[in-house]
Subunit: 135 residues, 2 copies
């Protein structure tokens, strides 16, 4: 199990980080995510880090990279589920995650993504995908 | 990182299995999931095993257990993203995952869950939660 799975949910991609992001795994995740954004025409990326209890500057940089890469491909990135201790560590490390949106949990993150790209969906070709989430 | 995170998405819970389910981790997941179903009044559990490339009888049993426990609490379980090799192994091991619904990917799994519990949502108290997914 040397790959982090990327789940497609309508217009969004969801990634749950459960393992330590050592170098190769992180670079693979970056590459996979960007390719997946391209392939699926996704408009948003949700990264759940609720299982992450230890964070270092490398991981902070990887998350920033993913957000920047996705942004160029017209997808917003939202990091969700951050533990309080991780937030404390990030700020103490001097990594305020600039350019990365955050939300408390997946549901709020998804709402945030929808509000950010909301106006585009109404008349886009992705309307069919959105039915997946509609009642 | 010794816990598998459980993500709440509206009426459903989503679990992505990315690591080997050794004994304690699997039992913790069972317990956490059942408590979460109870706490959040969830109607469905989606288990993504797209990152699982090796499966044994223990894991097959755990998935069956989760499905049975959730069923008693009135939640359906759908296993999604199974790799072809895993399906082959499960059948060769004599574990046809009876009582567990399966779907090709998360989107189809979510549609399956919705079709299974669909009629209940319309007039349930969970209607507000569903707005999360509606446009």
């Amino acid at each position: 199990m040397d790959k982090i799975p990327i789940l497609r949910m309508g217009n969004f991609l969801l990634v749950t980080i459960q393992v330590d992001l050592y170098d190769r795994l992180a670079l693979d995740l970056e590459a996979d995510l960007v390719q997946m954004v391209n392939k699926t025409s996704s408009r948003g990326v949700l990264i759940d880090i609720s299982a992450v209890s230890i964070v270092d500057s490398f991981m902070g940089r990887i998350i920033g990279n993913i957000a920047s890469m996705s942004k160029i491909l017209d997808a917003e990135t939202v990091v969700v589920g951050m533990q309080p201790a991780v937030a404390i560590t990030l700020i103490e490390l001097g990594l305020p995650l600039k350019g990365v949106h955050t939300a408390l949990n997946v549901e709020r993150g998804m709402n945030l993504l929808k509000s950010m790209i909301g106006s585009d969906i109404q008349d886009g070709e992705e309307t069919d995908d959105d039915d997946t989430f509609a009642e």
